[in-house]
Amino acid sequence: GPKVLQIPSHQIIDMGQMVTLNCDPVSNHLYFYWYKQILGQQMEFLVNFYNGKVMEKSKLFKDQFSVERPDGSYFTLKIQPTALEDSAVYFCASSFTGGNYEQYFGPGTRLTVL
């Protein structure tokens, strides 16, 4: 079936550094999402993105966070600067249409901020 890829699978960085998480969504999908999951906890919505714009973001999507998808390449989540509480697994998802249709999730990027 359709696959969403995420690069890297793991990232360890020092607090205050910048990190970029990359997502390669399903090729014909138009809606893109980032979620944050701390181990053993709920999947938390961060942001969704359509037609080059952020449609909605949660309170977890701090000012230090940004997303973009330049020219149909990777859909990225950038955190600058990182904080200790940003340590989590970040999942990217994509869907062909909006929120009430199936979202395809990537395998996640485990981010550890030291």
Binding site: Q42, M43, F45, N48, E56, G99, Q103, G108
Partner: protein, 111 residues
């Protein structure tokens, strides 16, 4: 928040048993999606039930939806050890821009 009662729980059962997981939600939704997340992986949709459906079946899975009580259930019959995962239900908002995940149920099926 979209979510009413917290339904986070952990269930441990023997292979072959049947299991039912429940979720309830606060506001209107057009669909309830059930996702399964295996350890170290992203969630994957396993069954979707729309607001005009009361029941949906897919193999060993059965989902129900009661819009009057704003609740949904997922049943798995004849569980297998490979069904071990966290199961989330998810609903959408009135704008259909996003889905809201519940806390999930950790299901462990012992072989």
């Amino acid at each position: 928040s979209q979510w009413g009662e917290e339904n986070l729980q952990a269930l441990s059962i023997q292979e072959g048993e049947d299991v039912t997981m429940n979720c309830s939600y606060k506001t209107y939704t057009t669909v309830v999606q059930w996702y399964r997340q295996k350890s170290g992986k992203g969630p994957a949709l396993i069954i979707l039930i729309r607001s005009n459906e009361r029941e949906k079946r897919s193999g060993r899975l059965r989902a129900t939806l009661d819009t009057s009580s704003q609740s949904s259930s997922l049943s798995i019959t004849g569980t297998l050890a490979t069904d071990t995962a966290v199961y989330f239900c998810a609903t959408d908002d009135s704008n259909n821009n996003r889905i809201f995940f519940g806390d999930g149920t950790q299901l462990v099926v012992k072989p």
